[in-house]
Amino acid sequence: MAGRFPVLILVLVLTTGCAALPDVSPFATASRQLAGAVKASGTAISEDLHATPELEAKAKAFDNAWAVRNDLMRAVVAYSDSLVGIVKASGDSREAARSLAEKVGGLAQAVGVIQPGAGPAVEVATDTAAFVWAQIALARAAASLEEALKAAQPAIERLTIIKSDSKDLVLVVRGLSEAQRSELNATYNEAIGYRKDLAARRAKLRAKFGTLTDAEATELKRIDDFMAPPNAEVQKYDELKAKIDTREKANLQLIAATRDAMEQWAAAHREVAIALENRRPVSTESLTEAAVELRDLVKRIREL
């Protein structure tokens, strides 16, 4: 009987392939960044919708719809974590088996099945059981991982709906920015117009320089004084307009980056499945880069 153990172990090692499982942790990290980006873009747009009185009902509808997106991303993160969990459990399986074997040994001793002094034999049995279980666990983990990836793939494919969301989010951001510009124009129209009229008059007088009458020369001097208040107003207008432009640009960048990252994420998911099938390592470099870009954009949006 004892002679069969090495053969059994060898068979196990050969049949399980003994290949390491793919590292899915970058995939889980990217999922977290993606969830953060979806949440950040929703929050930024919701704020702007709520700031527009005519859109109060639409703002509530958007909040409800976006809560479902956030919940979906929660599910995406939990799913990615569960893949990491399988890989980790496979790595920890030897320790789990050893600890279980020790517990079983303790129990056997307590009920008198194992006599004191049988320690070394129990230890060998424990080590062997732990090793065998680690091989079995590796094979089972690979199968579970493959099963999970396959089962999730149709849902991941359907995530392309988010792409359609991106198109509409772009329209929301552009529309809100345009409406904000309309309001800003209306507020500062008088100052801008007054400044323009004064500038036109000043240009006319300056064109006559050298042939100006005394009255015209006095008027030219007074125009410079008159222009100070509208100049200050126009400066304020420029600052507020720049704020609208910057926020619009940052929101559009975040939406585009989130859409691209989502596509890369779905592609990486397919890649993990194929890598597992072919027992080769996964390249998650581009996914990691996308995750870093998203993190930076979310940070920028929060700072605005």
Binding site: A141, G175, A179
Partner: protein, 172 residues
């Protein structure tokens, strides 16, 4: 940079330009073309900035242009929000699908960690200890100690039964 407003010289010119822009807005709205609607809104906003001088008549035209630009922009926003909300049910079903896969994957990980086996062995060990304790109390313990040990033994056995039931897949 030359703009479409550069050659307008008088009130009539501004009135004609506004009419043209409002007609373009109506056309884009009728076609439900969001990009065209936003482009017209942007031109209407530019109209307000470019129109001059700021006479009462021109200011009145600006007011019309502002209202139209805002209305067109907010219509685009409202329609887009409606479309986003319209896709929500489909996203809910994807969430359910993913949650189901996650639950199964978590189960697989727990099985690799031998969690159930650990729980059963723990319950067994606890039950054996409870029996040992009871043995000692039966020899020289008080009634109260005996009652407490019996309670402990019962709890241990119930836990063990539950773990075994769960492991065998039977309902609790």
């Amino acid at each position: 940079m030359a703009t479409e407003f550069d050659k307008i010289k008088d009130l009539a010119g501004w009135q004609d330009k506004l009419k043209e822009l409002l007609a373009a807005a109506e056309k884009a709205s009728a076609k439900n073309d969001a990009d065209a609607r936003l482009a017209v809104a942007s031109r209407l906003n530019q109209f307000v900035l470019e129109s001059s001088p700021n006479t009462d008549e021109i200011v009145a035209l600006d007011q019309l242009a502002t209202n139209a630009a805002r209305e067109v922009s907010l219509d685009v926003v409202g329609d887009a929000v409606d479309r986003i909300a319209g896709r929500t049910a489909r996203l809910r079903s994807i969430t359910k699908q993913l949650d189901a896969v996650t639950a199964k994957a978590e189960e697989a990980a727990a099985s690799l960690r031998l969690e159930k086996a650990h729980r059963v062995i723990d319950a067994f060990t606890e039950a054996v200890r409870a029996v040992d304790d009871l043995d000692k109390v039966l020899e020289d313990g008080t009634d109260d100690q005996l009652r407490k040990r019996l309670e402990k033994l019962t709890t241990s056995l119930v836990t063990l039964r539950d773990e075994l039931d769960e492991t065998a897949g039977r309902p609790e």
